[in-house]
């Protein structure tokens, strides 16, 4: 078609026409999936990738390589930070967070900040070796998956529990309070404990109850005490009344 047009329009002294009709057949870029040419189809089938047969699925066994990798500067910094945290802060709680949005996290951080609890993020790759090499090795199995540390200088367990109850995605796993590893039930019972001063007061009063009772008795009038003793003797020996009374009179 183009050849015939061209032959018709080009005159002998050769000038190019104003309009040129370009051959238009099928397009390369289509909206539907264009069927492959049979040759291309054959080529793709022949050169298809066949993965080598795996004896066991990937992920069934842990890899043996990559055990000893040198710590880069960031990891060393983070380990130093962790060490400082374990030294400074009395309460370190481990929480698994499933919340994906930052809004919830910001709200929770704000709520905890009011009670002096700060939220710390560390990669598990750094915390696990640090914990295994320190005295807190029993805390290491807690750090799997997305975990967050809630640290505070004062063990404010009740407030922490109320804030965590408000956000359902955060799961409390355990805590290290005053160098003591506690599970969830332990944390709950810790929160129900009364304050230290109250406990000490109760203990002291319980121990000194007997002695204080004796002291108050001795401060009474001696006549009162002697009459009490006489009554006691009478109660002890109701049958032998005549024998006991002369001994009591001798005592007073």
């Amino acid at each position: 078609m183009a050849a015939t047009l061209f032959a018709k329009f080009v005159p002998k002294h050769g000038w190019l026409p104003l309009t040129q009709t370009v051959r238009h057949g099928s397009k390369a870029v289509t909206r539907h999936r264009k069927p492959l040419h049979i040759l291309k189809q054959k080529l793709l089938a022949v050169t298809k990738y066949i993965p080598p047969p795996q004896p066991f699925p990937r992920g069934a066994y842990p890899s043996e390589s990559d055990h000893n990798q040198e710590d880069n500067g960031l990891m060393l910094l983070q380990k130093k930070d962790l060490k400082k945290i374990f030294e400074d802060y009395k309460m370190i709680a481990v929480v698994q967070n499933n919340c994906g949005n930052a809004e919830d996290m910001v709200i929770l951080k704000h709520r905890l900040h009011k009670h002096g609890i700060s939220v710390k993020f560390f990669p598990n790759k750094v915390t696990r070796p640090f914990l295994i090499n320190s005295i807190y090795c029993n805390m290491a199995p807690l750090f799997i998956g997305p975990t967050v540390l809630l640290v505070s200088k004062e063990p404010k367990v009740k407030e922490m529990l109320t804030s965590l109850r408000a956000s359902p995605q955060m799961t409390l796993l355990g805590a290290c309070i005053d160098d003591t590893l506690l599970s969830v039930q332990g944390i709950v019972s810790y929160s129900k404990l009364p304050a230290m001063t109250v406990v000490q007061g109760e203990l002291v009063s319980g121990l000194t109850m007997l002695t204080s009772h004796t002291a108050s008795l001795l401060q009474r009038h001696p006549a009162h005490l002697s009459s009490l003793l006489q009554q006691y003797i009478k109660q002890q020996n109701p049958n032998n009344g005549t024998e006991a009374s002369p001994t009591a009179e001798q005592a007073t």
Partner: protein, 108 residues
């Protein structure tokens, strides 16, 4: 490694997911990863009525995932010897079976 190919987890046919595990045990990795995937915002946004409850225990019990579907069926997965991807595939296959209409509509 253990994340499913389909990034979003659709919980349309699920009523409740109860996950219980003991974090001090060493066989809880897959259960915890499953919980992280299912409890994420994206997954929960697919069905707001679905409850995701996690219970933390300390009695050396096995990690268990208990899924209750809308039509009353229960799926109990004991995650002690399962990988996260196995649990996810089992869970998602049942979800797609339960909810074929929305899936077919989405694919078309």
């Amino acid at each position: 490694m253990a994340a499913p190919c389909k990034a979003t987890v659709v919980l349309k046919a699920v009523k409740k997911i109860a996950v219980q595990f003991c974090p001090f045990e060493s066989n809880t990795r897959s259960t915890r990863e499953f919980l992280a995937l299912v409890g994420s915002e994206k997954a929960r946004a697919t069905n707001i009525n679905c409850q995701v409850v996690s219970t933390v225990k300390h009695d050396k019990s096995e990690p268990v995932v208990d899924v209750t579907y809308v039509d009353g069926e229960q799926l109990v997965m004991k995650g002690a010897n399962l990988t996260c991807s196995e649990m996810m595939s089992a869970f998602q296959s049942r979800c797609t079976n339960k909810d074929p209409q929305t899936k077919a509509a989405a694919k078309k």
